[in-house]
């Protein structure tokens, strides 16, 4: 259960910044920000970063689980 909570937190935090970008779009129609430059390549970058951090967190949690079992 604890593990599930952790993953949920990672996902929540990972998506939280999207709300900030969505607000940005309504305020700024010209949209010359970094996220929309170069064919929105930085959008892809954000997604890759969210994926890799999520997977790394998962890996770290498995590592901790095994470390706990080893101490027993």
């Amino acid at each position: 259960m604890n593990q599930f909570k952790k993953v949920a937190w990672v996902l929540l935090l990972g998506f939280m910044h999207l709300a900030a970008f969505a607000q940005d779009a309504t305020n700024n129609e010209a949209a010359n920000d970094l996220m929309r430059s170069n064919g929105k390549i930085f959008l892809v970058m954000t997604i890759v970063v969210v994926l890799i951090t999520g997977l790394l967190f998962y890996l770290i949690s498995i590592d901790r689980k095994i470390s706990k079992l080893e101490k027993k």
Partner: protein, 228 residues
């Protein structure tokens, strides 16, 4: 070593660096075909570098096992072979996606692609062979012997045969060096991401492999306790 955390932090930092600066770094515009897809270099190519390193570690422990048959060496050998094979599968599938947009078809029968497919099949046979044996002692010993064969088959399939014929991969005429990439040709800016990317992805593979080894050690202890 495998329970230390400094190199795991390094893995996280290098991968985050690759996944951010890899998109930001200025890349050369060679022609209108390649465009930004050259950035795949930071993700597709390190899979093969990582695979080669992981499979080398695997064969190193296979040799160690044959010299001194301790089960721990087999745990290392099989875990690194698994991760190496997963890296190769990821490499070949990302390669197929890239090829679809760069060469017009996911599978062009490029010598490097065919060679990689053969190499992967040889490694898959390693797992079939191990899985087919009930006796652990036999499984470890025969697995180690086959592992050495599988590792040395990587050289003709990935390094030698693709050089003897024309390839769509860069430098593929046979005379220009490695058909996967030509180190001297690489843009300076790209090197600042590429080498950290290789180290980062490889360390990720090492991390996953060591977790598998630790799991196997725990499992073995658990089984021994139960039998007593």
């Amino acid at each position: 070593m495998m329970r230390k955390s400094w190199w795991k932090i390094l893995t996280v930092l290098l991968l985050l660096y690759t996944c951010t600066y890899g998109f930001y770094v200025k890349v050369p515009r060679l022609d209108d075909r390649m465009q930004e897809s050259i950035r795949n270099f930071f993700f597709h190519v390190p899979m093969w570098f990582g695979m080669m390193i992981l499979l080398f570690v695997s064969v190193y422990y296979a040799v160690k096992f044959l010299r001194d048959p301790q089960p721990i060496y087999d745990y290392y050998s099989s875990a690194f072979a698994t991760t190496g094979t997963i890296f190769s599968l990821l490499g070949i599938s990302t390669g197929a996606i890239w090829a679809n947009y760069q060469w017009g078809s996911p599978w062009t029968g490029d010598p490097k692609q065919n060679g990689a497919a053969i190499a992967i099949l040889i490694y898959l046979a390693y797992f079939v062979l191990r899985g087919s044996m009930q006796d652990d002692d036999k499984k470890m010993r025969i697995g180690a012997v086959y592992n050495i064969f599988a590792f040395f088959m990587l050289f003709p399939t990935l390094w030698i045969l693709p050089r003897l014929t024309e390839s769509l991969h860069p430098g593929g005429q046979g005379s220009e060096g490695n058909p996967g990439l030509n180190g001297k040709d690489m843009d300076m800016n790209m090197r600042t991401v590429f080498y950290p990317a290789v180290i980062g992805w490889t360390l990720l593979g090492v991390w996953i492999s060591t977790l598998k080894v630790r799991y196997q050690i725990l499992n073995e202890k658990h089984l021994n306790n139960e039998s007593i």
